[in-house]
């Protein structure tokens, strides 16, 4: 390793790093993906329960009605929509659609805010906040 490289200041204050709007979209795509993977065993368990009997189905429905669960589900919808839209954006970029810097920034901006907007809308609808 060249000597001068070791002399560089290491400055990784995460609060001082300003991500561009496309970077925010990208890291959210990652985080939402990981969170949804972690949720998989719980979803399989709920599927199992929902198919066992009338009573078990009802307990799944009751669980969804719980305020804490409603909040978690609202977050989940946000994660899913962001991951979905950002994913479709990547598919379109693969097809050379929206690759120019200005349109790539615009689509990232719109998707980031659409996710937040949906989350706010769901919170309003579910809790009347």
């Amino acid at each position: 390793m060249p000597h001068h490289k070791t002399q560089r200041p290491v400055y990784l204050n995460l609060l001082k790093i300003k991500l561009p709007v496309t970077g925010i979209l990208s890291i959210l795509h990652r985080i939402t993906g990981v969170l949804m993977v972690i949720s998989l065993p719980f979803l399989v368990y709920l599927l199992d329960l929902s198919l066992r009997s009338q009573n078990d189905f009802k307990s799944v429905m009751d669980l969804f009605m719980h305020p804490v669960m409603k909040l978690l589900l609202s977050f989940y919808l946000w994660f899913l929509l962001h991951h979905l839209l950002a994913g479709i954006r990547y598919l379109l970029l693969d097809l050379d659609i929206g690759v120019e810097k200005s349109s790539a920034r615009r689509s990232a901006f719109v998707i980031n805010y659409l996710g937040l907007l949906l989350f706010a809308g769901v919170l309003y609808g579910v809790f009347g906040l």
């Binding site: 990652r30 993906g33 990981v34 949804m36 993977v37 998989l40 065993p41 399989v44 599927l47 199992d48 929902s50 198919l51 009997s53 009338q54 189905f57 009802k58 429905m61 979905l84 994913g87 479709i88 598919l91 693969d94």
Partner: protein, 110 residues
């Protein structure tokens, strides 16, 4: 060691599985919103259809493949060293295989 395998293949798996996941979610949403009432009978009857069982299993396998490609990229970006990566990736693949078998057992029982 080349953990990523064939990059082109991973790229393709990620996109094909993504499209299948989207189509399945649209189908699920349309089906469930077509129920007269969201109750156990309608839900159980819908899952009982052979075509839907096949689609559910295909959907879950696509989901696991999609998750595997994504999670592997995350692990390789943030975890370093052979042992760490080996333990993390083995644990992930193990849990994913376990979930695949679990889902199969659930669907076969219905």
């Amino acid at each position: 060691m080349n953990w990523r395998g064939d990059g082109m293949r991973s790229w393709l798996i990620q996109r094909v599985s993504a499209i299948f996941i989207i189509l399945y979610l649209i189908y699920l949403l349309f089906s469930v919103s077509g129920f007269i009432q969201l109750d156990y009978q309608n839900w159980h009857a819908w899952v009982s259809l052979t075509a839907n069982k096949v689609l559910i299993v295909l959907f879950f396998l696509s989901l696991l493949l999609h998750a595997w490609v994504g999670i592997r990229d995350v692990v390789l970006d943030y975890l370093h060293g052979f042992t760490t990566r080996f333990i993390a990736l083995t644990a992930i693949i193990g849990s994913m295989l376990a979930m695949a078998i679990w889902l199969l057992l659930i669907i076969i029982k219905v």
